[in-house]
Amino acid sequence: MTHIYNDPRGFKEDMIEGFVRAHRDRVRRVPNASAVMSSRAPVKGKVALIIGGGSGHYPAFCGLVGEGLADAAVIGDIFTSPSAEQVYRCTKAVEGGAGVVYSFGNYSGDVMHFGLAEMRCESEGIDVRTVLVTDDVASAPPEQREDRRGIAGDLYVFKVAGASAHRGDPLDEVERLARKANDHTRTVGVAFGGCTLPGKSEPLFRVDPGRMEFGLGIHGEPGVSTSELLPAPELARLLVGKLLEEAPPDADGTVALMLNGLGSTKYEELFVLYRYVSELVERAGLRIHHPLVGEYVTSLDMAGCSLTFLWLDEELRELHDAPARTPAMIWEVKR
């Protein structure tokens, strides 16, 4: 349930305003746009990474803007992709002459609006590449990987792309690495309860007590199937099993791992689950690198969680490990 708001129609605006006020040291608002940009952007000669999507997913998307990660995030209304116009304005504000990568989860609204903005920018001579995040294994079979939607895996794709752009890679290379990161990222999730939009009193969906939804969406979409609620060790087995089924052939046996809470499934619960997840992953012969256990891509106050693997190789690991500083996270990997 969303309890704090003024006029529900002003939610996005109030949110961006408050966010920028809270993080003046790292970000500022893109003038005349519902977008935030790193206070260092634009950087001349650097590829600009622009991410975005609806609001309701914090720290995605605006919490991920900053040094070593995204140059800007374009923010829509709750669960609603931002418009092409806003993407365009944001692109104009942050591109530094070396091209732009758009990256966002694969949802038709986002694809269409970012696509329209890309066409408009290209017509003005700005080289734009789009990398869709398609990590949700529950949303389509492996043969249709490119049709899958993007959920928590967003973070890893953005991180790799942001690190590549930050170290000065040219546009082709940033694009290649972002695509590779997406090819190596898989997520599976479950939901225990739906979320409620500001101003509404009913959740988007309900889960019966003792049941859970498998294959959640991060926009309050119900899962693709319902099953019995599992205790932590079995839930761990389900999630880890689904991801192990899809190990990419060229992976070297090390995974960066994220156990993500969707909003009201809290940290302690995630640690309980992580105990069993990490045991299973290690028992499967994999090495876990820099596990993240917490809230990274949320869905308002939805109850549920997702497990993501980024299958590393040397190239991806270097970019994964590169430092980053954003309002939501200071990324430091001990080696």
């Binding site: 829509g76 418009s83 119900p222």
Partner: protein, 207 residues
């Protein structure tokens, strides 16, 4: 048939009034398989469209409306109504006339633009499933010599029946496509809202 663009604003206002009254219903329908924001997005889009459509020339006014709609609504339906209104407006502006055949052609252009943008086919459970048969029925009426509003009125039940029938389709585009067969039984919210709009605007259409 009037070349004056006032009807554009009037039509959009009528659509807005109806969709405001349907906002919650459309939200619930979208929540069944999607993310519940369809009603809110359509209201945001139409509110902005009404405000933006100030040109005297109807084609111009429609383009203004489409641009504003897309920006204010965001989301899949924002993008789609954006290209729909702009394509229709372009055709009317280009022809310099607002006669029934141009109107039909404008809607044909819109369908093409929507398909190009969203890559959906009829049968994929989107608003195209209501829009395409509507435009076909409209064209038939117009070819049969009816004026725009009569032909439109006769095409409305076709769109409405088609929208209802989307309940039996499995979505292949848009958020609800992820649910596969689980989305069966609910009509597509975009198809339903389209029929509300089509019925709402009819009395405001030229002749």
């Amino acid at each position: 048939m009037s070349e004056d663009g006032k009807w554009v604003r009037a039509a959009l206002k009528r659509a807005l009034t109806v969709l405001e009254s349907k906002e919650d219903e459309l939200g619930r329908l979208d929540a069944a398989a999607g993310d519940g924001d369809h009603g809110a997005g359509m209201v945001r889009g139409l509110t902005a469209a009404v405000e933006a459509a100030v040109a005297d020339e109807p084609g111009e006014a429609l383009m203004q409306a489409g641009t504003a709609f897309a920006d204010a609504a965001g989301g899949a339906s924002g993008a789609i109504y954006g290209v729909l209104l702009v394509a229709l407006g372009k055709r009317l502006a280009a022809s310099g006339r607002v006669d029934p055949p141009q109107f039909v052609q404008g809607l044909r252009d819109a369908i093409e633009a929507i398909q190009q943008l969203g890559k959906a086919q009829p049968g994929d459970k989107t608003l195209l499933d209501a829009l395409v048969p509507f435009v076909e029925a409209l064209e038939e009426g117009v070819r049969g010599g009816q004026d725009l509003r009569s032909a439109w009125r006769q095409a409305l039940p076709v769109a409405e029946e088609a929208a209802r029938a989307t309940a039996g389709l499995v979505a292949r585009k848009g958020r609800s496509s992820r649910l596969g067969a689980r989305g069966l039984g609910h009509p597509d919210p975009g198809a339903v809202s389209l029929t509300y709009i089509l019925r709402a605007v009819e009395p405001a259409l030229p002749a």
